[in-house]
Structures are given as C-alpha cells and as structure tokens.
C-alpha cells in the first residue's frame, strides 16, 4: 500500500516536471511574441546597401515611437517620413524602434544611444520624462523630443514643439463658418460644433483652446461642446463621443484624440456630420471618408524632424532649447478641402487665408489655454 502510494507520488512529480517544462516554453514563446514587434527595426535594406556602397553616412539618426507606434497614420508616421526624407536627401543612416508599452521607452532609447545613433528622436510627450532621465547619461548623443517641452532645458536635448493652437485656430475658423452654411446636407441650423479630445493634458488643451478661439472669432454665438475620451486608442469610445455630439446637434466635429478619431469619423458618417481631422491629412490616411472629411489640421512633424537632422548634418543643431514650429515655420497647416473644395464658399477660404496672414504677422495671438 505504502509502496503504491509512493509510486503515485513519484509519477505525479515527473508529470509536474513535464508540466513546468511545457509552461516554461509556453511563457518563453509568449514573451518572444510580445517583444518581437517592439524590437523589430524598420529598415530599408536596399537603401542601406546603396549608402554603404557610396560613402560613410554623415550621421546615424534614429527615432523611438511612442505607444501609438508606426501606422498610427499620425505623428509617429510623420516623424518617420521626416527620417526617410533625411535618408534620401542627406544620405543619413536611419533606424526606428517601436514602443508597445510605456515601459519600452527607456530600453529603446538606451539601445539606440549605446549603438551610437545621434540625433535620436523621442516621439510623443509621453516620453518626456524618459528623455529627461536618460539624456544626461549619454552626453555625446543629441536628442530631439517631438512634442516634448523641456523645463529646465537639457544641454544635449532639443524640444520640437508645434503651435497646434495656430492650426486649430484655422480649423475653428472653418468649423465656425461652416456650421452657419448650408453647402452640405449634414449641416444644421443649431450653430453647435464639437471637439473630441484624447487625454485632458496641456497639449490637447492647446488644440481645444485654438479651435474655440478660431470658431468664436468668426461666429461669436457658436456653441462649442468639448468631450474627452481619456484614451488615444479606444476607437469605440471615440465613436460614442461622436454620436453623443451629433445627438446634441453638433454638425462639425474636430477630433484631436489619436486613433479615437477614427471612431469619431465613423459616427459622422453614420449620423451625418462633417469632420475635421488632425495631425495628418486624414482624407488620405483614413480611406473612404471623403464624404465627411472637411479638412485636417496638419502638424508637419516631418518638416521639424527633417530640419533638425539637416541642422545636425551641417553641424549647427542647437540643443539645450525648445524650438517651436508654428504657421510661420511650416510646422502646422490646414489640409486641402479635397471633395469639399468646390462646395466650400469662397468666404471661408478667404477667412482662413486672412487668419493665416494675421497670425504670421502677429496681429492675432492664439491662446494656448482655455
């Protein structure tokens, strides 16, 4: 009896041994799969060969995406555009590391800095603290913080900021005038427009403040309803906010909420409202939305990244400061009206042009907070 008991236990133990081995393999596979995308470099191999054949690249520039990753059809993609343009036109070697989690920022930046990349672009304000922490550890590396403001400034870091409020002001001018017009059946006479924000952070507040100021400048009585999703990836939430705004009578909606905006466009298409995109020309990046996509407020992150690399190649990159790219510097602009180009009244186009000129001349100072 005791003998059999012992045998059972023995058998049990060996089964357990097998179990733990299988589990270890399973977990290891999980970890590999979880981290492969985070570490996979985006490289154009053919491009690399040609640069090797010619001359030593003038410098090695790299970027770390934030959690939105490449394919966000927004500022991560735009930064990459700037990087690619630098590769083509300036012959620099480029590299991209993607972050899946906020915890990837540090290891990604470490990895690039150790490999001798400079400048390294950290994309997105979420990475600000990581840059503040790591930059002093690599004094010979130059860092560019896209959408990051450094206070105090750091010797080897340049903050690349945008006057989103200026572009949003123009979006507000368009929305404020359009809601009173009748050039599209989706416009109503309630004089209400909507704003969808991602997280309630100072950066997104700049969009909201500029948008409201622009709308009120041309339509003092307009009611602007602002809603926040609390996320930059929850599309379903973005759609619900859109539906809610339309339910309230909003007929033009401006979304500054990352991928949530994709959901808001859906709401506009379903319930009938016009949409103003953000960061990129979303007429091009979200297919099949031409029937509601009035225009987009573009952040030309690509210009800022390219200009920074160009300065680094020429050896006159100024770090230790925050640079601001506004309408004047080509950092923000309004996208074309595309399908609405023939419908949009000339008065709106003129008003946009006038506001642009006034902002560049300094006649209008756009607020950054509400």
């Amino acid at each position: 009896m005791r003998r059999t008991q012992f045998l059972y236990e023995e058998a049990d133990r060996s089964v357990n041994g097998k179990i733990s081995r299988v589990l270890v393999v399973l977990l290891a596979l999980t970890l590999i799969l979880a981290f492969v995308p985070a570490c996979s470099p985006k490289e154009d191999t053919t491009e690399e060969e040609t640069t090797e054949e010619t001359t030593e690249p003038p410098l090695k520039a790299a970027m770390v995406t934030d959690v939105g990753g490449l394919g966000d059809k927004s500022f991560n993609d735009l930064s990459y555009e700037g990087l690619k343009r630098a590769e083509e036109e300036l012959g620099v070697e480029i590299e991209v590391l993607e972050s899946k989690e906020i915890t990837d920022y540090e290891s990604n930046i470490d990895q690039l800095a150790s490999a001798g990349f400079s400048p390294i672009f950290a994309v997105g304000f979420l990475m600000t603290d990581t840059v503040v922490k790591l930059a002093p550890e690599y004094p010979d590396t130059q860092f560019g913080g896209v959408d990051e403001f450094f206070d105090p400034t750091i010797e080897n870091v340049v903050g690349l900021n945008f006057k989103e409020e200026e572009g949003s002001y123009l979006a507000g001018v368009v929305a404020g005038m359009a809601t009173k017009e009748t050039f599209d059946a989706k416009l109503n006479d309630k004089n209400i427009i909507g704003f969808v924000g991602g997280m309630d952070v100072p950066l997104i507040k700049k969009f909201e403040a500029g948008f409201i100021a622009g709308a009120k400048s041309v339509n003092p009585d307009v009611q602007v309803i602002s809603l926040y999703t609390g996320s930059f990836t929850d599309q379903a939430k973005g759609k619900e906010l859109g539906l809610s705004l339309i339910d309230q009578g909003a007929d033009v909606i401006y979304a500054a909420a990352g991928a949530c905006g994709t959901g808001t466009v859906q709401a506009c298409q379903e319930k009938g409202a016009l949409f103003i995109g953000v960061d990129a020309d979303q007429y091009l990046t979200i297919e099949g939305t031409g029937d509601v996509m009035l225009t987009s407020m573009m952040k030309r992150v690509d210009n800022a990244v390219f200009q920074t690399i160009e300065a680094a190649v020429n050896g006159d990159l100024k770090t230790g400061e925050n640079q601001v790219f506004g309408l004047k510097e080509g950092g923000v602009e309004l996208a074309p009206f595309h399908d609405f180009d023939s419908k949009v009244p000339q008065a709106i186009k003129d008003a946009v042009e006038k506001a642009t000129a006034d902002i560049i001349d300094g006649k209008i100072t756009v607020p950054t907070t509400l």
């Binding site: 490449l70 993609d77 899946k100 599309q235 619900e240 309230q248």
Partner: protein, 317 residues
Amino acid sequence: MLGDIITPDLFAAALRMATPLALAAIGGTICERSGVINIALEGMMLTGAFFGTAVVLVTNSPWLGVLGAVGAGVIMASVHAFASINLRADQTVSGTAINLLALGMTGFLMEIWYGHPGTTDQIGVLRPVLTLDAPGGGFLPEVWRWVSGIFLSHTPIVYITILIAITAQWAVYHTKWGLRLRALGEHPRAVDTVGVNVLRGRWVAVLISGGLAGLAGANLTIEQVGSFTEGMTNGRGFIALAANIFGRWTPVGSYLAALLFGFADALQIKLQILRGVISVPPQFFLMLPYVLTVIVLAGVIGRAVAPAASGIPYRKG
C-alpha cells in the same frame, strides 16, 4: 439642461457600450462556473477583434469576420484550457500570459500582414438591423422616438447578446449540461464519481468563454468602428470580469451588471457636456465607471460567493 443629458441616445449608448462587456462577462461566468478562472478575457477579446477585422479584409464579408473572431477567441481559449486544465497551471498566470500573448501577437501579425502596426484599413461593418425614421411631432411619435431610439436602433450583435444572456441563463439553470457545469465548479470530485468527464466539461466551458469574448471583439471592430487598433479593447475584459462577479456568476446577472457599467460610461459622456456649465475636469467623469467598479467589487452591493472549486485545477484519483 437635463433634456440634453437624458435622451434616447443615452440609453441606446448604454446598450451599445454594455454589449462587449456583457459578452465577455457571460463567457467569464460560464468559465468560472466550471471551475476555471478566466482573466484572459481581455486577450481573447483583442484577438477576436483583430482576426475578425483580418477576415473581413480578405473576404469582404462581415459575417465571415464574426465567425473568424469567434474562432480566434476559441483558439486562444484552447491555450488557456490546455495550460490550466491538462497541465494544471496556475490559472492566473496562464490568463496573464494569454493577455500578453494577444497584445504581442496582434501587433506582430499586423506588422507581417499589413506592414505596419497601429490601425488597420477600414472594413465594411454590420449595419443596424432596422432603419426607422421617427415621425415628427405629437405625443405618440415622441414615445415612438424613445422606443425606437433605445431599442430598435442597434446592430445585430447587440440583439444576439441579449439572446445569448437569456439562453445561457436557461442552459445553466434548467438543463443537464448546466447542472453538471455548476457542479464542476462546486465539487468536481462528485461529478467525477458519477462518471462525468471533468476535464472535458471544463474544456467546453473555457472554449465557450473564448468564443463569447471573440464575439465581443467582433462587436468592437466589425460593428462599432470598422477597423482594428492595437490595444483597442482598453481594459474592457477586466471590467467584464467585475461584471461577472457583480452579476454573481449568473449570465443574466452578468448582462445586467454590464448594462450598469455601460450606462455609467454613457452617462459620463453626457455629463461631460455639462462642463460648459459647471467647471469640472473631464477626468472626473472619465473616472466614474471605474469608481463604480471599485464600489461594486468592494462589496457595497452585498457579498458575492464564487464557485467553490473556481481556480483549483482538478486532479483525478
């Protein structure tokens, strides 16, 4: 002002937002009733959302996409079932591993299949079952506006979910299968001694929960937004777990709990409109559904008792 908040759309939004939570919560209920904890609902939902979109991108058929989503959820669930039933692994560890696996795998496959992570291209979505135009003016049309707005404006999976909740409730409490399922989670040894295969019973329950979580993912991508974004489930699987507990491990209870969370979320959106009137930061409203979850789980509503054998791997002999 109150009229701005209490609209048919508020309740319709509650139903819409409750649907993915309810599906996952019912899945979680069936799974835990069999004695297996499923904290991988989030991962299974995400996998379903992704493969649903992928299938529609290839076949252009939303319904095939729904099937694909359910299938993907089932496959993910089979990993959980194998690890936690056959290998008797810690169910929390296995569930966490699957959540990580789902997040990594969907990003990885996006890169391989579409050349970029982030958001996929748009797909054709399932349209609302009925399209009704409310007649204008008067008392009856007003009633009709509310009824049709709240109940008749939805996409197929919203209705399917209600049917699933009722069917599951009936199956759990009024069928032989349901009796065995409940016994599996309370006293598996007793079930074993009467000659019922414990492992198979649990496998079936885990696979069903995966299928339902996959369907929840399909609701997000194929019905609501028409594209997949990495991490788009945004914690819904975990709220579903809370709904399952709040619903006291019953399908209809889970549905109603999900409805409460959905309503809290819909209400916070509407309340944000008031920010123009009273100055409250939006975070306050965004926090409401989660505060509600914490209050509910802290037991204000009453003690909830989990199935006795939940989380304990069964060892024959």
